[in-house]
């Protein structure tokens, strides 16, 4: 295909890349299969054939045998919403990770760099530890976490804004600085809490959990994530331009300030929602975008096709591991993402000539 140029210093081979469309089809098929596995595997063994039969029964309204009612309830009321939520959260975190890395033009950024997770933690722990918003019942944690996440992002936005708009470095620094402030608030609440279990509850929430998934929370989260994905798919070309620098973006007909404001709002809404239903699940939003780039290159159209599917796939399996490994006890999702993800990531990075920042 391409020939090496004469001279010009070290010659690196063309990046090895996988065509995005077949990869996406493969990932989607794997995701569907994994959703069924997510339903079949768990503390109470259901098995693949039975899980498929029960899923089909629910979809087609077929009849059940007398002894199947308990298993049906586990499949439809507990495992399916949980597994679907895992996929939704994984897709949302991966997509917003891509968006934030382009927004702040920094490969080390993740959706939480703008203060959203530490902000949400303040709200969630106000409920967990201080019993705030008790009138909202089971929704108290989600509503409070979402509200404080958005409030945190608004604070970051206002503090980072200048007469010239939002600049990447300012956003990262402001987000990081305010995150420390929010974390201090959370720590203060843990310290002041009357219950001894408080620290453990707070820790569990910070590391993320999908245990609270119900059919009540899935549709809102899914709708927000899908809307965010649709917006980002439309913005893919403009994200490429923004990644090349503000001046280049302007010369290509993209208003960098306006795009950054849009990205900020979309990221706030999607991560705020995701964090409200699952806590602050780390790693996915930072690493999955890089994995997608290693596989299909940096072009955002392809990255945004692959990253959400890969994020969904990863989190479905992380959830399966987190609730089966030490069943009936559950591991925090954040621990499993790290244990599964870090070796995979390092292996991929070393095997493929992935470069960012020039080398």
């Amino acid at each position: 295909m391409s020939t090496a140029p004469v001279g010009g210093g070290a010659v690196s081979p063309p990046a090895r890349r996988i065509p995005a469309a077949p990869l996406a089809v493969g990932l989607a098929a794997a995701l569907l299969l994994s959703l069924v596995c997510g339903v079949a595997l768990g503390a109470a063994g259901i098995g693949l054939p039975r899980a498929l039969r029960l899923l089909a029964a629910g979809l087609t309204g077929g009849r059940l045998e007398a002894g199947e009612a308990a298993a049906y309830a586990i499949v439809w009321e507990i495992r399916l919403p949980r597994t679907v939520l895992a996929a939704v959260v994984g897709a949302g975190l991966a997509a917003t990770g891509v968006a934030v890395q382009a927004l702040v033009r920094n490969a080390l950024a993740d959706p939480f760099v703008l203060g959203v997770s530490s902000g949400a933690a303040v709200g969630a722990n106000a409920v967990l530890l201080l019993g705030a918003f008790a009138s909202l019942g089971v929704w108290a944690i989600s509503v409070s976490a979402f509200g404080s996440a958005l409030l945190a992002m608004v604070l970051v936005y206002l503090a980072a804004r200048t007469a010239y708009g939002l600049t990447p470095l300012r956003l990262v620094l402001t987000g990081t600085a305010l995150s420390y402030g929010f974390s201090a608030l959370t720590a203060l609440m843990v310290f002041a809490a009357a219950r001894g279990e408080a620290a453990r509850d707070a820790m569990m929430w910070l590391l993320g959990s999908l245990g609270g998934a119900t059919w009540g929370s899935v549709p809102i989260a899914a709708a927000t994530v899908l809307a965010g994905l649709a917006y980002l798919a439309c913005a893919a070309g403009r994200l490429d331009a923004l990644a090349m620098g503000d001046e280049t973006a302007a010369s290509l007909g993209v208003d960098p300030d306006r795009l950054r404001r849009e990205l900020f709002v979309v990221t706030a809404a999607v991560t705020g929602t995701v964090v409200a239903v699952s806590g602050a699940i780390g790693f996915v939003g930072l690493m999955v975008p890089h994995v997608a780039r290693m596989l299909v290159g940096a072009g955002h159209r392809r990255v945004l096709l692959v990253a959400p599917l890969a994020g969904a796939l990863l989190l479905v399996w992380v959830d399966i591991v987190s609730r089966t490994l030490l069943a009936p006890a559950e591991l925090p999702v954040g621990v499993v993402t790290a244990v599964l993800g870090v070796p995979c990531f390092l292996l991929l990075m070393r095997r493929r000539g992935y470069s960012f920042g020039g080398r």
Binding site: A15, A250, L252, V254, D255, G297, A298, S355, G357
Partner: protein, 260 residues
């Protein structure tokens, strides 16, 4: 294709960096902008490719105010090589060139067959078709600049704005880049540091000093020794090139006076 700057002033952070600049470039001309560091060359160029909005005055292309157009519409008429090097994400050369089609694309679609053909054609024109599959970050400075020119060409602009396009290039690549943009077709407005290159490749020169145009015209009329002494603080000695006959300037520094 006629570019007209109409008493353009630019303010940044309350400071006026460019004062009442008037500039004309006729269709197909290569117009150079020269001046010392900090004289406002880049600031003025940023107004033309719409990274900045002038505080007063207008930038007109064939009579249309560029800042009254939508960003996309303006980008279909003006392409630019800004002076920035963002090196965070490793796009391939083909992807970088395809970005030039962005202002021409509609809706959700990615680049189509026509876009791919244009990109391949532009890479061929700049002699970089063999680089298409390479990572942009792995290229040498000269290769990068040629690829960026290809990106500007697929924008199919009527005006090409270049900010120091020869920076960091060896002498052969400097000459190549300037020859390339001259035969590219559109009107060219370029900032240049090297006065001999500017004299050799531009139809018209505008000299900026502290944000104001202090001289303009054909290079031979503009680059007078008294003006160069006043604006750049150098003593210029014109000599004739023994082979080509072109006039070249040799420079030595005039000791700066205390108020400089």
């Amino acid at each position: 294709m006629d570019l007209t700057l109409d008493s353009v002033s630019v303010e940044l952070a309350g400071a006026r960096l460019v004062h009442d600049v008037a500039l004309d470039a006729a269709a197909g001309q290569v117009v150079g902008l020269v001046g010392p560091n900090g004289s406002g060359k880049s600031t003025l160029l940023r107004c033309v490719y719409r990274a900045l909005r002038p505080a007063t005055g207008a930038v007109r292309l064939d009579g249309d105010d560029l800042h009254a157009l939508t960003a996309r519409e303006a980008a279909r008429r003006v392409a630019a090589l800004p002076q920035e090097h963002s090196a965070e994400f490793d796009f391939t050369v083909a992807e970088v060139v395809a970005m030039g089609r962005l202002p021409h694309r509609r809706g959700l679609g990615g680049p189509g067959a026509g876009d791919h053909a244009r990109c391949a054609g532009a890479l061929r024109r700049v002699g970089a078709e063999h680089l298409a599959g390479r990572g942009f970050l792995s290229l040498s400075g000269g290769e990068k600049q040629r690829v960026l020119i290809a990106r500007a060409l697929v924008q199919e602009p009527r005006l090409l704005v270049l900010d120091e396009p020869t920076n960091h290039l060896d002498i052969a690549h400097q000459l190549d880049v300037l020859a390339l943009v001259r035969q590219a077709g559109p009107t060219v407005l370029t900032a240049l540091h090297d006065l001999n290159l500017a004299a050799g490749h531009c139809d018209l020169l505008y000299v900026l000093r502290a944000g104001r145009i202090v001289a303009s015209g054909p290079p031979a009329e503009v680059l007078r020794t008294d003006l160069l002494a006043e604006v750049f603080g150098v003593r210029a000695t014109p000599v004739r090139h023994p082979v080509t006959g072109a006039v070249q300037l040799l420079f030595d520094r005039i000791r700066p006076t205390p108020e400089d």
